[in-house]
Amino acid sequence: MSRTPKLGRGVCLVGGAMSKFGMFKGLDYKDLFAQAFLEMLDSVDNGLNPKDIEALYLGNFSSDFFLKQSHLGPVLTDLLGIVPRPAARLEGACASSALAFRAGVQAVASGMYDIVLVGGLEEMSKRSTEEVTEGLAMASSPYEWKTGFTFPGIFATIATAYFERYKASADDLFAVTLKSHENAKLNPKAQFGVTIKELMAQRAEKAKAKGQPVPSWEDERAFLSDPRVNPEIAWPLRLFDCSPISDGACCLLLVAEEIAKGFSDTPVHVVGLGQGSGYPLYLKEDLTQFEATKQAAKEAYAMSGLGPKDIQIAEVHDCFSIAEVIHTEDLGFFAPGEGIKAVNDGLTRRSGPKPINTSGGLKCKGHPVGATGVAQVLEIWLQLRGRAGERQVPIADLRVGAAHNLGGTGGTCTLTILQKKG
């Protein structure tokens, strides 16, 4: 029954870009996708005639709920000037655009198309926090959200199980947050490109300007322990454990391996593609791991012939700080229970042996849910090509990276492995 999944023919990533992620009053999802698309065109070494794009696969979670707009495919082909090329929207909650990426890879690998655009977008910030909380919760199991579980609530519940088993505490998660901010500071597209130290200074400055008592904290950990600046969202998770509400768009250009050199001097190969599904909380045998991630990893590792030790850098789905820790275990980077130690020991920092979320992650780069999956792949593509600017990892022979995307409460997970060959 179990055979090694494989692609019919090679597929390469030869272009990609994202809009800035953030909360934009005067811009909508079309503006953001346009930003990403134009920059993507510039990113293709040897250029792309947009009219040569044969199909668009778009990831979007819930424009229906957030914007009262469905059927985004033709809205986008019109925006890009590529009507009557086909377009499809794929939905897998926060993994929507990883599914679009997968569909795009499959379309090229099957021989159906040579040149495919994959995109993702979400516009969330014009709704209230309560509405967004409700909208996101719809991606959990019906029994969960009807019981009152929110997204942060589900990951907080998982956190209590993890802490109980591995004798850790919410304070141990500060290391994840500090690292995310440290990395995002070097990412001009990030929603929160600021370190915790800078935030502390900003807070003090603001209070001073208003003539209020100037707050002070001994260090970053003291700041993150202060409920005035870091209140509970869903105990034991606090504000700085959570990814924000964001708007953003991202797109990637996939082409058949045999024509890749025509587009790019350094094409990056899609060598591993995995996806799995997972249980709701009450059916999970073990709350401290995601079975969907394990399935995705199994498939992607088998397809690529690579293993966790071969992955030099990774973007993992840190919708909440605890999630990043668990993913680094489920993907096999660290043993169960060791992920929390690894991040506290600095192993996953940009300069560490296994850099995780060099983009700043969902926490600081931002999390426009439908754009996240492709944006994670984009970061790996940039790093592999040495185009990540100030946040380029200091690894001399960087060839293999992976992007892990999670949808809902772990109901859908994907792993994509990219490799620079030659």
Partner: protein, 137 residues
Amino acid sequence: MEMSFNELSYWMGMEEAKLMGVKCKECGAIYLPPRPFCVQCYKDALEWKEFQGDGKLIAFTSIFVVPKSMAEQGYGRDNPYIVGVVELNEGVRIVGRIEGVDTKRPETIKIGMPLKAGFPKAMEAGVSKAYLAFRPA
């Protein structure tokens, strides 16, 4: 109306203060909530099974930023509520609210504590609805 082995029946059971799941007559597998067929033996031979509602706390959270529907019931930053995963004595797990504990001091709640199911009612969009809430046994 005949009750189907589905989500609708699960919530309707609560209105009668019952925690309803199903049992496979063929292989004996039990399921909570109910499901339309057995995913162990794939036989379509289910019967209703009422769960007693006694169990222990596996994991939980106290929710301070609430969705709109809970805000309308008066919950929010100053009045958080607790939800969790409970393992029943019959061996299955279910999600439910956890009441009768200090919602603002969740650190005082212990994983593993014995719980008992109850079915209080709350107004939701103008309609009174029963929900599953566990309390310390």
